[in-house]
Symmetry: C2
Subunit: 280 residues, 2 copies
């Protein structure tokens, strides 16, 4: 029955929904007055006859400052297919029963001086349960102070969780967000963590919250420094080419995206990360 | 030693180089007078110390009519790695010795009324040898007469090869250029064939030539009908979204592209197919 896990998933989902709402409000605030962009909202749920239960809330904005930004929360549970059981740790022992919830965010600003960012937090349970997530920054034009601020905020979140967490998750991020065929990093890093089976659930939940708050504290502030900077066609071309690399990473290597291709999930959800415009 | 195969590969490569040169000339002709675009030319060869020998000739143009078009010919041979031996039929029996040559073309016109097209022809040999290839059309805005002309030209090439070849390769194309996650075809089809082990090499070589000539005869003529048509922002948006699907197919499903990611091949060669600009 995964009673404890269901309770934890509800707590995590409330946290993710709260973050979603506050992050979206902050992003809308950056669009400024006048013909102001707003997030569109799509609520979905698994059909009654579906093997899985639950649903989600997708929010998407195409604005003047944030050319495209998606912030999705989902919370699903039920019994996995055999293929799913093979992929998820502990699922054999729970006879396929599972609970999963998460928040996933990708922001592509219009101004080439403003970096693209990704943030994702999740809680999963089968016969065991764990948290995962991360956040990373992908500037087309790099500003060392932005990179330092971003890493600094994530470091603080990690330091409050446990010693050396930042160093470990930073290195994990560098290994993960890498394009072998280009021999290039996707961006300037951040943190990445997965399969953290904490003995202390309140501490894990607090860590997820800290990462979300760190992101909310630092990324919009970076945007505020960059979104009014003048740029030319060469800057835009550089940004569009960098976004091409982002597409390559997400379609070829990203686990969440590739998992999406193998399921009957809604492509608008797992491909929300793709940039509004990219060039090759 | 693959003596016979080497001879055949040389014949096929001469054919591909001739096609490349005539197709590029025809495309340059479409760019019109004035600030006329030309194909850039990159010749490459495997370094002397490399396990593989041979090289290729990449030609790329970014024009006003053809926003991006690549036409690449390559001809390589040598001894495959163990991973390569596992992938290529007959390679175990040749102790990894192989010869491969091909021409690969993708054209992305600027005008949304003008369809994107792909054409590829190849000859491969291990202990056995075979031909493969195909050509397909991807309009953002479909014109039934373009689709009919394209299929008609390919049908004629197939009919001269053997009975029912067109129907078989057309269906193969429809199965291959399909995006399961979108439940969408990539375009309006064409032909696709692979692993054709002909008992009659001159007939196989003639078939490759016929497909190339059919493409050269029909696709530029389709472009001529479309490239001067007026279009608006909505047409352009439709084209960029369709190109996004093209990127999804090529990065997620296309065998040649995915094979490229697993090798040390030059990404500029196997990612030549990606559009100049795409949207999501």
């Amino acid at each position: 029955m995964l009673t404890q896990a269901s309770e934890r998933a509800q707590q995590a989902t409330r946290l993710f929904e709260d973050l979603q709402s506050r992050i979206c409000a902050r992003f809308e605030g950056l669009e400024g007055a006048g013909a102001r962009a707003h997030f569109e909202s799509t609520r979905w749920s698994k059909p009654a006859e579906h093997r899985l239960k639950g649903g989600g809330h997708m929010r998407l904005m195409r604005g003047a400052v944030l050319e495209k930004v998606g912030v999705n929360v989902s919370h699903v549970w039920g019994t996995l297919s055999d293929a799913g059981i093979a992929q998820l740790p502990g699922a054999k022992e729970s006879a396929g029963e599972f609970v999963a919830c998460g928040i996933s965010l990708v922001a592509h600003p219009a101004n080439p001086h403003a970096p693209t960012a990704h943030m994702n937090l999740r809680y999963l349970a089968t016969s065991i349960d764990w948290i995962g997530g991360g956040s990373d920054l992908t500037p087309a034009i790099e500003y060392p102070e932005d990179t330092a601020a971003f890493h600094g905020a994530l470091r603080a979140a990690c330091d409050s969780y446990r010693a050396n967490a930042y160093e470990e998750y930073r290195d994990w991020c560098d290994r993960y967000f890498f394009l072998p065929h280009r021999n290039e990093r996707r961006g300037v890093g951040g943190i990445f963590f997965d399969n953290l089976h904490g003995a202390d659930w309140p501490a894990d939940l607090t860590f997820l919250k800290s990462v979300g708050e760190a992101f909310l504290g630092v990324y919009p502030a970076i945007l505020e420094r960059r979104i009014a900077m003048p740029f030319d066609a060469a800057d835009r071309a550089r940004q569009l080419a960098k976004r091409g690399r982002y597409v390559e990473f997400n379609l070829v290597y990203d686990r969440g995206t590739r998992f999406g291709f193998m399921t009957d999930a809604n492509p608008e959800a797992y491909l929300m990360s793709l940039p509004p415009l990219a060039s090759w």
